[in-house]
Subunit: 282 residues, 2 copies
């Protein structure tokens, strides 16, 4: 069996690309993950990614193997691939057929490296085109914010367009509020205030989203997490997207309307760049 | 690696218990499944299970390998395990990191056998205790009815109780309507009419549910698929649950209220038993 994906991988610390089909990660999507960038051998913001994994694991009662073992394995994979995207997945592990989680589940950890996507370098400077997706996100407060393995809504949303000129699709929730991009979090700037959708009923609270919110507070910007309607995106002065692989992407065009790469987007980009540079020093 | 689950399995026709971690079934829950009963070497209602898989695959644009190859592989597994539960899973197969489905995905098929669960024999005669779950089902018409691999809501719901005397939990949708059991579909009898929740916004349209609806029409019963409130379950004359492994389970007690095993439940049970017997003859 060949694969277009992982260059190298560890499953429970063993160098292998194969998983038992009885793993609940496959059977039910019963697991969580996080995706980060490795640059010159440094796993950027690893501590925050591990904290987020730990918090998500706690919410779903999935075993967390500990920061030390994950850090050690990330470094093993990072040594082999000094520039890559790294995905850390934790599942509830093996379990009997049926939804009931086993009383003492061991959990499975999978760390895999992937080639960096070849996004055009111009995006960071001049922005990306975005569209609205038709498929909407179902509401479930018990799962909201968690980066779990139930991602069919994102798969269907991403399948809605194949125009390579469009970099991201924005998703609304079942009630019509803006939530996020298919693979990213969403920020608007309205009259100097930085705004991002509340993720209390659906959506993924990304590590980069958290860093941008913290940076905005640090920089003294007014910040709001709120229920935001699509019309408010049309009225925004600036729009940008975030995730740990892309960093910050300004949106230059959304459903035909043009947006400038604004001053707050640039300010936050510089701040995040500084934090990334500091990761290389520490 | 050991497993408590599958006795034997085929992955794309090969006898193995292992799957590439790059499979989108694991990465995103990007797949579907069906579960059926093998009795004396006969895969009960296999044709209907395959039709359902095919319909679900079409909706998600997942490759369907064809009825012939699946039938042949089911029989291979069934020969080795003449009494078992059989699970057929189809995923979108290997794909690059990222939600975008590959243009030409090969798909992965996994057929695995599992021990029959040891439910008490008395349940079929005297019924089962049920409860209401706290966690609710998010609404998504694009996924409604499909037995897909995104099953975290069911995992969390099933984790709500560990009283072995309770056989099933009933789930409401985000708006408070009754949908189904964690692992079963739900039927009520109100004043002689057979009623089951509409599954146009969430839920899994089980093969046994379809058989019961057809049987009811065949038997001349009044049938309704509707939005049903939990209060209407309290007022029901009979309640029962269905899936392809349990068949029909009368509900004897729901949140403290007792229900008889009523005449319509018995009538439909006999009819399904006859259809199962016919499967052995054909």
């Amino acid at each position: 069996m060949t694969s277009e994906v992982s260059s190298s991988a560890l499953v429970n610390g063993k160098s292998t690309r194969f998983l038992d089909i009885a793993d609940r990660g496959l059977q039910y999507g019963d697991g969580i993950f996080t995706t980060l960038s490795v640059q010159e051998g440094v796993a950027i913001f690893l501590d925050r990614h591990l904290k987020r994994l730990q918090a998500d694991a706690l919410r779903l009662n999935i075993p967390f193997p500990g920061v030390e073992i994950l850090t050690e394995e990330v470094q093993r994979i990072g040594h082999m691939n000094s520039s890559c995207v790294l995905k850390i997945m934790l599942t509830r592990g093996l379990g009997g057929r049926g939804y009931l989680p086993p009383k003492q589940s061991q959990g499975t950890r999978i760390i895999s490296s992937h080639p960096k996507p070849d996004y055009p370098k111009s995006i960071r400077e001049s922005g990306v085109k975005a569209r609205f997706c038709d498929i909407r996100l179902g509401l479930n407060p018990h799962l909201a914010g968690i980066k779990h393995l139930n991602r069919l809504e994102q798969v269907l949303a991403r399948a809605e367009w194949d125009d390579e000129g469009i970099g991201e699709g924005l998703m609304l929730d079942h009630e019509g509020f803006l939530v996020e991009g298919v693979m990213s979090n969403l920020f608007l700037v309205n009259s100097g205030m930085l705004r991002t959708p509340l993720l209390e009923r659906c959506g993924v609270a990304g590590v980069m989203r958290g860093l941008v919110l913290e940076s905005a507070v640090f920089l003294g910007l007014a910040v709001e997490q709120a229920r935001i309607l699509p019309e408010e995106a049309y009225d925004a002065d600036e729009i940008f997207l975030t995730n740990s692989v892309i960093g910050i992407w300004p949106v230059s065009l959304l459903d035909g309307k043009a947006y400038p790469v604004g001053s707050i987007t640039r300010l936050l980009t510089r701040r995040i760049d500084e934090m990334v540079a500091r990761e290389h020093q520490s």
